[in-house]
């Protein structure tokens, strides 16, 4: 800093001191408050701010101001408006709408119908809970779950049936596939690889993203199968297999979103998801790979969000800087693509910020999240639709309002015309530093425990999240935090505003009712028709590989898939060797 600057700073500090004493404190006294209800940040809050070190230009290290000078979607925003593009319809070469229900044939027929209406995205598959937890439709653990929250995939045959909707212009070398699958991700990726083989498509042409973020399942989402350490063995093998054979396939989609929704604080969300990311990097290195060979193929689903707009903007800025610094300084990455957080959306409010009381208010809430996203390097995406807490399935009306709100922010409010509009703000830079410092301290704590895997094995992360969720509930019940229409402004003069709501009959309820029986019958038929000897041979080989930590499990899993072993049979063989994860007690 120049001498003149230093003198100037002294003047400001002095003025701030006087202001505090003469104005602020007197006002606090006058209203009989314990402390000021507002804050104000002057340059004195940010004396050592180095722009190049802390912010940098958009698309340059440390990426605080954004991943790119401007994003892909922004380049074509005007064209999109003129052609009336609807993102929920998907488009050729793009990721399609997330969905899945019933049997594979039910879902395939649904996809055909959507395609005839112009929705032409790639597969973006939601799997039912039985599939996600590694149980076949005939398992006693799967009762009531088949085809409910997603499509049931018990075998390669099932997988193939879904993909009957993706041929020709939509073949798997032309559109990417997204799989929301974690514990059995290796099996689904193997199915994708075997499908390519059967269709004569080179594996290196396959694109897409498996969620494959098992660590957050232990902390938040709950669809784990094997213990954490053994799950990371599977991750290591997937990572090596993808780098070696499927270089266009993203390796994972790391989610902080689920962790925050489960109740984590902002700092826990940031620290835990980056600690998970770090564990995945270490697994890739353990597989003998160079960091730049796989880190560019890591993606992020989204971090969690809240209604606190300023904090969420600072969060996104801190997250980008922390990840970039960790990759460069700790892991020696040289490729810029290793250092950036690739995520489809940045800030948002999170579904847990929506309320069942006076639900149309959720539109106002989601707009705040969209504003935070637009001001922190993302599309000002308004999410979720206002009827999110009313049960599974959004109405057409809610989706229309959500889409239009995003468009209003882009085209009318021009929210996304400036990169990192808060850069240099005394307040925002201070807040970004603060969140980064707190999250780094929490990450250090996890490092000292032995990293994310150890912190999950001991139950530390799970309990920390549960405690935070409970603390928040207590704050709400004590009115230490306010939720409009929930714990305040609930008097008799307030009214509930309703809009006509036509829930899209997304999935045929009659098919849903019979899916379980039909899928059990299909499984029984498969077990009759396949070559049992080949199946047990492939499973035995896989079991041998599982017992040898130096072996990559992917080729063996591909073989089991090709011989039509079921998802549960493959998982059971691994369960026998790896054991099963235990739920954490409070």
């Amino acid at each position: 800093m120049f001498q003149d600057d230093e003198k100037e700073m002294e003047k400001i500090k002095h003025a701030e001191e006087n202001w505090r004493k003469n104005l602020l404190e007197k006002r606090v006294e006058r209203f009989n408050l314990a402390k000021s209800p507002t804050t104000f940040y002057s340059p004195a809050a940010l004396t050592k701010h180095d722009f190049m070190e802390k912010v940098g230009f958009p698309g340059e290290y440390p990426f605080t101001a954004g991943n790119n000078p401007f994003d892909f979607w922004r380049a074509f925003a005007e064209d999109a408006a003129k052609m009336g593009y609807r993102p929920d319809w998907g488009g050729a070469g793009k990721v399609g709408k997330y969905g899945g229900f019933g049997t594979p044939a039910d879902y395939r027929d649904y996809l055909f119908r959507m395609q005839s209406m112009g929705r032409k995205g790639g597969p973006n598959i939601a799997f039912d809970l039985a599939t996600q937890c590694g149980y076949d439709p005939d398992s006693a653990r799967a009762i009531g779950e088949i085809g409910r929250v997603g499509v049931s995939v018990a075998s390669f045959r099932d997988f193939q049936i879904i993909y009957e909707a993706y041929t020709g212009d939509l073949d798997i070398d032309k559109v990417p596939s997204n799989f929301t699958i974690n514990a059995p991700a290796a099996v689904i990726i193997a199915m994708y690889a075997v499908l390519a083989k059967k269709r004569g498509i080179p594996l290196e042409h396959l694109a897409g993203t498996p969620q494959n973020d098992i660590l957050k399942e232990f902390i938040a989402r709950g669809t784990y199968i094997f213990p954490p350490r053994q799950s990371m063995r599977l991750f290591r093998d997937i990572c090596a297999f993808c780098v070696g054979h499927m270089p266009r396939l993203n390796i994972n989609s790391i989610g902080g979103y689920h962790i925050r929704e489960a109740g984590a604080s902002r700092v826990q969300d940031l620290a835990f998801s980056l600690a998970n990311g770090k564990a995945y990097i270490q697994a890739g290195l353990e597989a003998g790979l160079e960091v730049d060979a796989f880190a560019p193929r890591f993606t992020f689903n989204a971090f969690g969000g809240s209604m606190e707009m300023y904090q969420e903007i600072a969060f996104q800025r801190a997250a980008r800087r922390m990840w970039a610094r960790m990759l460069k300084e700790e892991f020696g990455a040289k490729d810029k693509r290793s250092m950036i957080i690739r995520q489809p959306i940045t800030a948002h409010i999170g579904c847990s910020s929506t309320t069942l009381n006076r639900p149309l208010n959720n539109l106002a809430r989601a707009v705040v999240g969209g504003l935070a996203a637009g001001m922190s390097g993302g599309m000002p995406g308004v999410y979720p639709p206002f009827d999110e807490p009313l049960g599974l399935g959004h109405s057409q009306e809610a989706v229309q309002l959500q889409l239009d709100a995003t468009r209003i922010m882009i085209y009318e409010a021009k929210v996304a015309d400036v990169n990192d509009p808060w850069a240099g703000s005394y307040f925002m830079e201070s807040l970004t530093d603060e969140i980064e410092t707190d999250a780094l301290a929490e990450m250090k704590k996890i490092d000292d425990m032995g990293g994310a895997v150890a912190a999950i094995e001991s139950g530390y992360m799970q309990r920390a999240v549960a405690r935070s969720a409970y603390e928040r509930q207590k704050q709400i019940e004590r009115q230490e935090t306010f939720l409009v229409g929930v714990n305040c402004f609930t008097g008799e003069n307030e009214i509930t505003v309703n809009v006509n709501r036509e829930v899209e009959a997304t999935y045929d309820p009659e098919l849903m009712k019979t899916a379980e029986e039909r899928q059990k019958a299909a499984l029984a038929q498969l077990k009759q028709e396949r070559d049992d000897k080949a199946v047990s041979g492939a499973l035995a080989t896989l079991k041998g590989h599982a017992a040898d930590p130096d072996k990559n499990l992917m080729p063996g899993i591909c073989d089991c898939v090709e011989q039509e072993a079921t998802l549960q049979e493959i998982c059971d063989v691994l369960r026998e060797v790896f054991g099963e994860a235990e739920p954490v007690k409070l």
């Binding site: 149980y135 779950e145 489960a262 049960g391 549960a466 969720a469 409970y470 929930v486």
Partner: protein, 138 residues
């Protein structure tokens, strides 16, 4: 004689649904409200839940379900309780439950349904009132 008897509550997650926030928060909250709380953890079958309720001699079961499978899973739990001759245990349901399903749940024997936004104090009050009524009746 039962002045000292603490009301015992089993908080349970039936099926494969992994959304655990509500169950954990309610378990902590009811514990702090003075109840004896047992939390099953994730992925319990209806049979396991009914058996745990009997083994632990609970007064109340709170089922937390956010997967949409609430009708089937709740019915299974209640059938299992009946088989164990324990259908006097009060059953509460919490989670994402559409209002349209309330009457069917109540017909199968559910005492109350709690959805998002419910304060724990309201759940505690329901438990106090219904268990008191149950004791007076027996």
């Amino acid at each position: 004689m039962n002045q000292e008897h603490k009301i015992r509550v089993l908080v349970a997650k039936p099926g494969l649904d992994g959304h655990e926030r509500g169950a954990r928060v309610v378990a902590y909250g009811l514990r702090d409200a003075g109840f004896e709380v047992i939390y099953t953890g994730l992925r319990q079958t209806p049979g396991q839940i009914a058996k745990a309720a009997v083994d632990e001699d609970v007064d109340v079961i709170g089922l937390s379900i956010l997967s949409g499978a609430h009708l089937l899973l709740t019915r299974e739990v209640i059938n299992n309780l009946r088989e164990l001759e324990a259908d006097d245990i009060i059953v509460l349901v919490g989670g994402v439950v559409p209002e349209n399903d309330f009457s069917e749940l109540k017909e199968m024997g559910v005492t109350e349904i709690f959805t998002s936004g419910t304060p724990i104090s309201a759940i505690a009050e329901t438990i106090q009132n219904t268990t008191a009524a149950r004791r007076n009746a027996s």
